[in-house]
């Protein structure tokens, strides 16, 4: 039935506030390749470059891609996408593809945090904290800068202790002052760092508890790459969390899988060919011009 698109591929592109990610899947929804890079100020140019990198990594051309869905904060700035879907739906789809039993997903990105409730692989409820960068990736970056540490190093150091210092403030600015004053009081660096992670986890778990945390819990987003953060999350939640091998790409993976579902729907309705011809012509022009 789907022979029209049976040897074609489907792509998802996630333009986040800090990092952009793209993935391509085959007609069975299996991921072939993904790419990740910093978003920068020029969303449109970067979306083109990311797509080129993805295609070259997968050994494909744009003509092999049957359908593209864009997501994330910059989803409107992907001129070659066939459709936009919010990052909440895409994350839920991507997380469920990797962990089919998932019921709760916690995602902490560069400038926001979200909690997703997932039922049978579908997003059913969510909460976001996107008014302030406190308790997100940006908070950790500022802390690392203040202390002159690498992010990974910060995570490793924090694992050396079981007695985290209590950090009271979560405002990015006030917390930095608190960290400095704790250092000057002679507190040990690992204890302070562990305290920072606990403070971030506490904030997002508060959000999660509003939706009721159900196991299994999956933790994603750039911040989930940090070992100290994962440990703190488990401590505060009181349950183990699952972390994907590459926690950054659940959004674009979900978008790619949704692209496949969407293309199948069009085929079933007999609307695919017309859509693709039109899209391909437009996309070629756009893509060709801007990638020079």
């Amino acid at each position: 039935m789907h022979n029209l698109i049976s040897h074609l591929y489907f792509a998802g592109i996630d333009i986040g506030s800090t990092m952009s990610k793209a993935a391509v899947v085959d007609d069975e929804g299996k991921m072939l390749a993904y790419v990740v890079g910093p978003t920068g100020a020029e969303h449109r140019l970067y979306a083109n470059k990311l797509m080129e990198d993805l295609l070259s990594k997968a050994g494909l051309t744009l003509a092999d891609i049957a359908y593209i869905i864009s997501t994330g904060y910059g989803r409107v700035n992907v001129p070659f996408a066939d459709k936009q879907i919010t990052e909440l739906t895409c994350h839920a789809k991507g997380v469920a593809a990797l962990f089919p039993e998932v019921k709760t997903a916690i995602d902490i990105g560069g400038q926001d945090a979200k909690v997703l409730k997932i039922k049978n692989g579908r997003l059913v409820d969510f909460l976001t904290n996107d008014k302030c960068a406190a308790g997100t990736g940006r908070f950790l970056e500022v802390t690392a800068e203040t202390l002159g540490l690498e992010l990974n190093e910060m995570g490793r150091l924090s694992l050396q202790t079981d007695s985290p210092v209590k950090i009271n403030s979560l405002c990015t600015i006030f917390a930095q002052q608190e960290i400095i004053s704790r250092l000057s009081e002679g507190e040990l660096l690992p204890d302070i760092l562990a305290g920072v992670y606990i403070a971030i986890a506490t904030r997002v778990v508060k959000l999660a508890r509003q939706l009721k945390v159900e196991m299994p819990v999956v933790f994603t987003g750039g911040v989930a790459k940090n070992a100290g953060m994962v440990k703190a999350m488990e401590t505060v939640l009181g349950v183990p969390v699952l972390v994907p091998e590459e926690p950054l790409i659940t959004g674009c993976l979900g978008a790619a899988i949704l692209a496949r579902d969407e293309a199948f729907k069009l085929v079933q309705r007999g609307e695919y060919e017309g859509h693709r011809d039109k899209k391909l012509t437009e996309a070629r022009i756009d893509f060709g011009d801007k990638s020079k």
Partner: protein, 390 residues
Amino acid sequence: MVIATTKGLSRAHEIYTDRGLRVRELRKAGKKIVGYVCLYPPVEIISALGLVPFRVFGDMSEPITAADQVSITVVCPFLRSIIDLGLKGKFNFLDGIVGAHTCDIGMTLIISWRDYVKDAPFTHLIDVPHTDHAPAVDYFEGQINSFKRHIEEFAGEKLTDDKLKKACELHNKQRKLVRELYDLRKSDPPLLTSIENVEVLIAISSLPVDEGNELLEDVIREIKSRSIKPPRKKARLLVWGPVFDNTSLYQLIENADANVVIDDTCVGTRAFWADVKAPYNLHALAQRYLVDIKCPRTYRDSCHQELERNYDKDLDSRFNYIKKAITDWKVNGAILQSVKYCDTHGYEVPNLRHYLDTLGIPSIYIEHDYSERSLAPIKTRVEAFLETLD
């Protein structure tokens, strides 16, 4: 007499974009304009004395700057916006302002207005109890009576039974017309958009009652006869919450493949659903405002003086009017919105969401800081909510 060149929906849009347009003309012609904040000052008394009631709203596109001199920042930004506009002279066409103790900030707004804005010679604050028990209604009637005496003095005129009756009938007619307007959104697709609806309601809140009624009649006629209709969309939504005196939220929702077909907000149904019942006396006004307006600032207690508190019965007595709206307008999702720092509405949200769950109506709660600029993150949440309805 200035004759309006536009009619119907374009007239509504014109007044929506310049709310003082008509009252400035009327003032030049010698009319006195009395602003009122929130839904609790009885507009019938203002109209009956030959004054023009003008509902005071804020402005979501105007950054709040002057208000910082007279208020703290961690309170209702809608009410802060009003005092901000007052301090900037944007309500200089008002001869008076009436407020009510609908919430604490609503009360302090009127006090600040009297002390700092000073433009309007007449200010009055009506105390409003927070339950609908019988002694509370009697107390509120007394408050309406003292408002009556104060504003009679200001108008230089006595409120007679006859004048009050006529004004009640005119305002009831307006409420009936508004309900007719809402009936036009019961069909799928609705015959008008929620954006048009808000523009019309804000326009009639800025006009004398008879002119508002005329505008409503024109609008209803125009909508019934026009050939272009809003498109059918995936979702038929209810919007709940405090005042949203701006079309931007409705635009955002309607751009995201949903029609807002009914609301429970202070600009919409809450302001127009209940009539004043005959005989048109002060007690009837007290009943209409305190008991019949369904705003969470008044607690509608079903278990008053009962030893056992029954949670389900309590929820039903507070929210069953919403259940009726959901059935009548065939709603399949609800957006609960509130302005930041509104504890009145904030406390209501968990109970209301639970009630909607029991009805099988998915809902989302969004909070905004009463500025057009802050709507971008809300857009993603609204879109994601609609995606969950697939």
